[in-house]
């Protein structure tokens, strides 16, 4: 059975980089989707649904990341995740707080 595949490139823009709070927001949002989602930085490929994994990217401001999803909701997942990154982690759909922390 062929599963839909989606891929997008995003850039981390917030000055603090992808630190604990954004990583948590990112993983928490990724968990809402059934698709397998990976985040790729150069040769590093990690599970988007694990904060521990996302933090290993050490993504500072300006880092380019490739999001790769495979599953029925792949496109929707990457749409939501790239919107979160593009908003500098203020457009979290699960919580109303800001991006500090």
């Amino acid at each position: 059975m062929d599963m839909p595949i989606a891929q997008r490139t995003v850039v981390i823009n917030n000055p603090q980089g992808l630190h604990a709070r954004p990583a948590e927001m990112f993983a928490r949002l990724a968990l809402k989707f059934d698709s397998e989602i990976e985040v790729i930085r150069e040769s590093l490929r990690v599970d988007a649904k694990s904060i521990l994994h996302v933090l290993t990217l050490g993504a500072a401001q300006g880092t380019e990341l490739v999001l790769h999803a495979r599953g029925a909701d792949a496109e929707a997942a990457l749409e939501a995740l790239s919107r979160l990154v593009d908003s500098d982690f203020t457009a979290d759909e699960t919580l109303s707080q800001g991006s500090q922390g």
């Binding site: 000055p15 603090q16 980089g17 992808l18 630190h19 604990a20 709070r21 990583a23 948590e24 927001m25 993983a27 928490r28 968990l31 694990s50 904060i51 521990l52 994994h53 933090l55 290993t56 990217l57 050490g58 993504a59 500072a60 919580l95 707080q97 500090q100 922390g101």
Partner: protein, 157 residues
Amino acid sequence: MKFIDFVSREAIRTSVEVDDKEQVIRSMATALLESGKIDKDQHDSIVEAILKREELGSTGIGRGVAVPHTKHPSVSELVGTVAVSADGVDFDSLDGEKVHLLFLLVSPPDRPGDHLRALENISRQLRDETFCRFLKQSKTPADVWQLLEEADNNQFV
């Protein structure tokens, strides 16, 4: 960044017996105070800032690990410590597991890069299941320090 670059050896605590998030954070900050890494008159302010940060979202990052942290103007370099709890602490982690291993970090507000590199190092090393398990089973601060040194020397990855 290596563990020995930011973990204060004298502030490592094992057999932590408190089971509540606030208490464990407070005791770790006290350990930093006792090892001379933070000022006495800043202790409460640092604890409060870390607890406030936890309110935004738990720093329990999964696998029984938490990284409570804050920026604080009273420190001039990144300081950190490690605590091990055999019984585990309720931390509202994303995966629902109790936390047995904590890395507490206090960083100067103008050095976000150092903080990010410390988080990157902690999470990368803890992805190794053996290292993570050994750390949680540590009985003495000396055991923890030895494991951190071994990890720094790439003996786990």
